[in-house]
């Protein structure tokens, strides 16, 4: 499993990573009630021990797209001396998370079979 994560992480700048960004965001929000952008970048860094780095330039467009599609809802709170925008999953977002995670699992499984054909025959 560790090997698998490392593989995705090492591809941090590839199209593979780009395609997984939505799933990463949905998964993060699925595990906590609400999160803000900066928190997400730090959480991913922490989980992957710095192997995966979500760039700011990619994160916010992805969040705004999910918000426009109705998968995320927003909440704004005053924290310290500034406003903070939190994202949380909508009901539609919860359903999409389940389907996206399934999709990713299937993809990883297929790629594993492809990478280790001998292993899958056993």
């Amino acid at each position: 499993m560790h090997k698998k994560i490392m593989y995705v992480c090492n591809m941090a700048n590839s199209k593979l990573y780009k395609g997984s960004l939505t799933t990463i965001i949905l998964k993060l929000l699925n595990e906590s009630e609400k999160m803000y952008g900066y928190e997400m970048t730090q959480k991913v860094k922490q989980i992957t021990k710095g192997e995966l780095n979500i760039t700011e330039g990619a994160l916010y467009p992805a969040l705004h797209k999910l918000e426009a599609e109705g998968l995320l809802d927003v909440e704004v709170k005053k924290v310290d001396n500034r406003l903070r925008k939190y994202y949380k999953l909508t009901e539609k977002g919860n359903k999409e998370t389940v389907s996206k995670l399934e999709e990713l699992k299937d993809y990883i499984k297929t790629m594993e079979t492809f990478m280790n054909p001998k292993l899958s025959l056993e």
Partner: protein, 229 residues
């Protein structure tokens, strides 16, 4: 170490300098930069605010906030179309459906008459006058709103400044209507098609220049939780 209020204001000015004019996006970027600066200060306590800010900004890449801004604009346009569409759908359910049918019948009967061409030109000329008048009015309203709050919201700008923008291109083709042959009005399918198109066009203009701007407060509150703060 936490950022002070003047430093937060400096970050707002910094986003404006980098072409982010809308308060909704500015707020999110300011919080992001502030978090990053505070995090950097935990390890580099002697780093100046300006250096820490520039370091945080560099993480957005060579295009700075441009990518985020462009995509935000695109997504906000999508949201506006969604509101427009939801409003349009209401005109095909009771009780508004009665008005839609009435408008359609008036247009259809006009285009079936001997004065079809003149009435068609008159209809679009009236819409044209309405569109120009409302555009000027909405732009003025937008300026007043901005002067009052000193804030500009992306959706607000779309509602008040870009309402029915693509329709203006279509209306600029109005002089072409003179070239229409009178014969086309003897074809019932063309008359039917033109009537359906004109009814939809009328509704689109009415919704984007009248209904949506009147509902602006509600839509802005719905889109931006910080709008009422």
């Amino acid at each position: 170490m936490k950022l002070t209020q003047p430093q937060i204001q400096n970050l707002y000015a910094f986003t404006r300098q980098h072409y982010v004019e809308h308060y909704d996006l500015q707020t999110e970027l300011v919080d992001h930069l502030a978090n990053d600066i505070e995090s950097v200060w935990q390890t580099q306590t002697n780093l100046s605010f300006e250096d820490a800010r520039d370091q945080a900004f560099k993480k957005f890449g060579v295009f700075g906030f441009m990518d985020v801004l462009e995509r935000r604009q695109k997504n906000m346009n999508k949201r506006y179309i969604k509101y427009l569409w939801a409003e349009l759908k209401q005109w095909f359910t009771f009780p508004k459906l009665i008005t839609t049918i009435a408008v359609f019948l008036i247009i259809y009967m006009s285009l079936s008459s001997v004065l079809a061409k003149s009435l068609l030109i008159g209809f679009y000329a009236l819409i044209c006058v309405f569109v120009i008048y409302k555009s000027v009015l909405l732009k003025r309203q937008f300026k007043q709103r901005k002067a009052m709050s000193n804030k500009k919201w992306m959706l607000e700008e779309i509602i008040f400044k870009q309402a029915g923008g693509s329709a203006i291109i279509l209306l600029s083709q109005l002089p072409q209507f003179y070239n229409f042959s009178d014969n086309i009005f003897s074809n019932p399918y063309i008359v039917l098609g033109l009537s359906i198109f004109s009814t939809l066009f009328f509704l689109w203009m009415y919704i984007s220049f009248e209904i949506i701007p009147n509902k602006a407060e509600k839509l802005l509150n719905e889109t931006y939780p910080e709008f009422c703060l």
